[in-house]
Amino acid sequence: MRDVAIVAFAQSPSVRSDTQRNEVEILMPVVAEVREASGIPKGEFDFICSGSSDYLAGQSFAFVAGLDAVGAWPPVSESHVEMDGAWALYEAWVKIQMGYADSALVYGFSKCSLGDLPEVMAMQLDPYYQTPLWPDAVSMAALQARQCLETGAVTAEQMADAVVRSRANAKSNPNAQLSGDVDREKLLAEPTFVSPLHKHDCSPISDGAAAMVLVAGEKARQHCERPAWITGFAHIMEPMDLGVRPLTESRSTAEAARRAGVDAAKLDVAELHGPFSHQEILLEQAIGIGSSTDVNPSGGALAANPMMAAGLIRLGEAAARIHDGSAATALGHATSGPCLQQNLVCAMEGR
């Protein structure tokens, strides 16, 4: 395995609806910021990879326009995943492992505000049996939440506490959308939204973008004082259909963490991508996170969830804790698909 490090990370503020900018206009400053931070000029990245979704943008091949933000002339080596940018980072990491690149620029972006996001998310389901019934993303998550609550896998108090933690941590994150001091009992007393979920159990709808730079080998130290070295990287998926997999645990997260060589007892920071509060608890349980780990110091997805960037942001926030020296080991997690169908774990350390 080649040593590869995250040397720079940048993100736009997440907002409910950026009516003033198109995707490219949101993305450009973020790409400029990681170029500047890494000191790698345009044209010197060996590989560029992005994550976005045409259904969110409402137009086919929308990612091609995204390239206008990076400048594809002279021609560049480029790829795209119709997934969160965290999977674009994985592709870039594999490319570097294979020896085809020594550096990579990765980004993810979306404007979830353009359409009815929970409805658009029905497009990721089975097109014969499920999408024609138009189950929205919140209803799908609510089916999982009820099973968790009724089997005791997760308690209502744990869900409320996840929201309290998210909002409190997000107070120190200028890019977060929801932050503040909220009270567990008051949250529990609120009316339900899509029962059993409350509105606060659901991540907000966000517009935003994030970008990251990977560099291989000792050269990484030229681009970052304290690189976040990737020590393990894996993604695992389960069947999409909710009926044929257990919903009260996240086996694919547990397996991804195992393959990434995560030692939960030694984790200083974990940034988990749980778009719904019960999912954050399931992720903690799957990885075996204990009280010595700082979970979601950024506030996590419950504080801001720009689709296609929120997973990459988790990895970036984890890396940022290594960069600033506040953590020696960190884990970034990203999820995709309904009810934690697919999960990615990236383990990193400072040294």
Binding site: R21, N22, E25, M28, Y55, A69, G71, G115, D116
Partner: protein, 166 residues
């Protein structure tokens, strides 16, 4: 009955999703110009090229264009074309017609439009063309203000004048 229908082999799963698009800064500036009967471009700060109907970035250099705008002409040179003969429900023009790429005078990027008032066999690269606008009282912030392009009758532009923009 069942036998007459035969087994189900296909399911229809139509999708219809509603969005509210944002033009963003660059396209808004362009469309507000069109509302005034003008084509406004934006300049790349690196190489000075003028993009008309910019999306806000220099696609070559990945840096923001503008915010200052550059007015370009509504006349230009036809630099490529295709005769469209296949009808589509999404087309507002009856085929056959000429879909054209126009390099507006003062611009470095080309604009896609439709050529009319010209026999199809006369359409050619280098032809000088101009925008035909709706009556002024019908102008909105939309490219529909320009119904089509038509030949100006000027002599053709020499190949060397547009070869770097192909």
């Amino acid at each position: 009955m069942a036998d007459e229908k035969g087994p189900v082999e296909i399911v229809q799963t139509p999708v219809e999703l509603d969005y509210t698009y944002t033009a963003g800064q660059a396209a808004t500036r362009f469309l507000k110009g069109v509302e005034q009967g003008k084509f406004l471009g934006q300049r790349c700060p690196v190489d000075g090229l003028v993009y008309v109907a910019s999306r806000g970035s220099s696609p070559k250099h990945g840096v923001p264009t503008g915010p200052d705008t550059v007015e370009v002409s509504d006349k230009g040179t036809l630099i490529s074309f295709s005769i469209v003969r296949i009808p589509s429900a999404n087309l507002s023009v009856e085929p056959p017609f000429a879909a054209i790429s126009v390099l507006l005078d003062g611009a470095d990027s080309h604009l896609m439009h439709v050529l009319d008032e010209c026999p199809l066999e006369e359409v050619r690269m280098g032809m000088r063309v101009e925008a035909v606008w709706l009556p002024k009282d019908q102008w909105t912030a939309s490219m529909q203000n320009v119904t089509h392009f038509r030949p100006t009758g000027e002599p053709d532009a020499p190949f060397d004048s547009y070869k770097d923009h192909l």
